[in-house]
Symmetry: C2
Subunit: 275 residues, 2 copies
């Protein structure tokens, strides 16, 4: 029997991948969680029917959440990751010697548990002594921690299910308050081909809260359209004013010092969405 997993990325378009094995398929307290072994992309984590990460292309997303913002902040010591229970962003954060503490707050402990078991190359940093893993609502955590973080990274699912509060102006204000006076945040902010209105509304909301707002992008093959955007909101430091020659060559497969600013140059139709 041939089994194919199909994700409808829109009601009338999707991707489909042949699978070897289903490791997990369960309804957690918060969402449907599937962990499957695909032929093309290796192990794949699917939440509420949406691909979150795969062995083959995970490096793009995780590097691009972590490095552009950490090479914009000159000395990030304390970093918060909201969501990101698979641990991939944590793994990248730990490549930065300035970071003394990385806190991961995911609402769903099952994501953490199964990622450690089935995605060991992604989750490998979660047991590092610099990392604190908290199973809690990121919205609440941020509410309870003011003026504390140098950098906040929002590695959430799409704005449906448990992540719906993570795409609101109130959340961005909460992040602002949780950051120190020169803090920066970054969030994944979906794709412009299928959700152009979301890109525009998130951009408007973040601009109401942060003085410096920049959008960058990367190609993630298993995400809808393959063009994924990220939004950085900053109190002081501008990612476009970073001296690229000061960025070290670290062990990455997507991000590079050369790509730091180029990633902020958007296709024209995307530029128009965030004007």
């Amino acid at each position: 029997m041939e089994l194919w997993y199909t994700e409808k990325q829109t009601p009338t378009y999707g991707i489909t991948a042949k699978i070897k094995e289903t490791y997990v398929s369960e309804q957690t307290e918060f969402q449907k969680l599937d962990m499957i072994e695909t032929e093309e992309f290796g192990t794949m984590l699917v939440l509420d029917g949406m691909v979150m990460t795969t062995d083959k292309d995970e490096f793009v997303y995780h590097e691009m959440v972590a490095h552009p913002v950490l090479y914009t902040h000159p000395n990030a010591k304390k970093v918060l990751v909201v969501g990101g229970g698979d641990g991939g962003v944590i793994r990248e954060i730990l490549k930065h010697p300035s970071v003394e503490k990385a806190v991961l707050v995911d609402i769903d402990g099952k994501v953490i548990e199964y990622s450690k078991k089935y995605l060991p190359n992604i989750a490998c940093g979660l047991d590092d002594p610099r990392v604190e893993v908290i199973v809690n609502d990121g919205f609440m955590h941020i509410h309870d921690h003011k003026n504390e973080y140098d950098v906040v990274m929002v590695d959430s699912t799409e704005p449906v299910g448990p992540a719906v509060n993570l795409f609101t102006r109130g959340f961005y204000q909460g992040i602002y308050d949780s950051l120190k006076e020169d803090g920066i945040f970054v969030a994944q902010t979906d794709n412009p081909w299928f959700t152009p209105d979301l890109i525009s509304s998130v951009n408007r909301d973040v601009k109401e809260v942060f003085p410096i707002v920049r959008v960058f992008w990367a190609n993630v093959p298993t995400y809808p359209s393959g063009l994924w955007t990220f939004t950085m909101g900053s109190k002081k430091y501008d990612p476009l004013e970073v001296d690229e020659s000061s960025i070290p060559e670290i062990d990455t497969k997507y991000y590079s010092p050369r790509l730091h600013k180029a990633a902020f140059v958007l296709p024209k139709f995307v530029e128009d969405l965030v004007k």
Copy 2:
């Protein structure tokens, strides 16, 4: 009845799109040609089971074949398009006032015929007085025209079927000979996620023929992985030495003067493939 078109982009991975109607499904002299109406991407041209272009995302590919090279050459008057029977690249070429003549050579007259009928917004330039449309083998045309073109653009299918000769060192040498002494060529050169070896071998071959070789990329959602590469081979002009401030703002949706150089900054794993 719900009909879905599925393209297996690899043996174990693909995209799938709900369709409203099939306009054409026939075996031409050279390839299988399907023209279908999809819900998400509008009209879609499929050759030998591979998506060539769609109403919704066609602008990316066509702009990125035409503009980076035409804004690198300071005064391109005579341009050749090999393949590209849908006319999208021709439409973009005609936005350049320097171009006096654009020759399109597609091996399959049926692609031209059906594109004019079903993709009028893409094929709209084919009847322009500056355009000559020739139904012939591009390989042969190039062989018969030496020292003639300022710019050659290869808008071919993948290296299977009728385009197999268009991914050989001999073809690149033929293009070199068909170009004037300061000529430049550009070709679509597939994606690095599923065909990394092709990217490397094409790059090696082009470097044996042209002194200046640069690879750039764009996001095309309906192409495998969404990351598409293009290779430029040039006798004299370097696209990275273009003064971006001299590029005019023309009517585009993807390309912009700001993107001209940024498109040449490759993700690190792609950089490594073309070192």
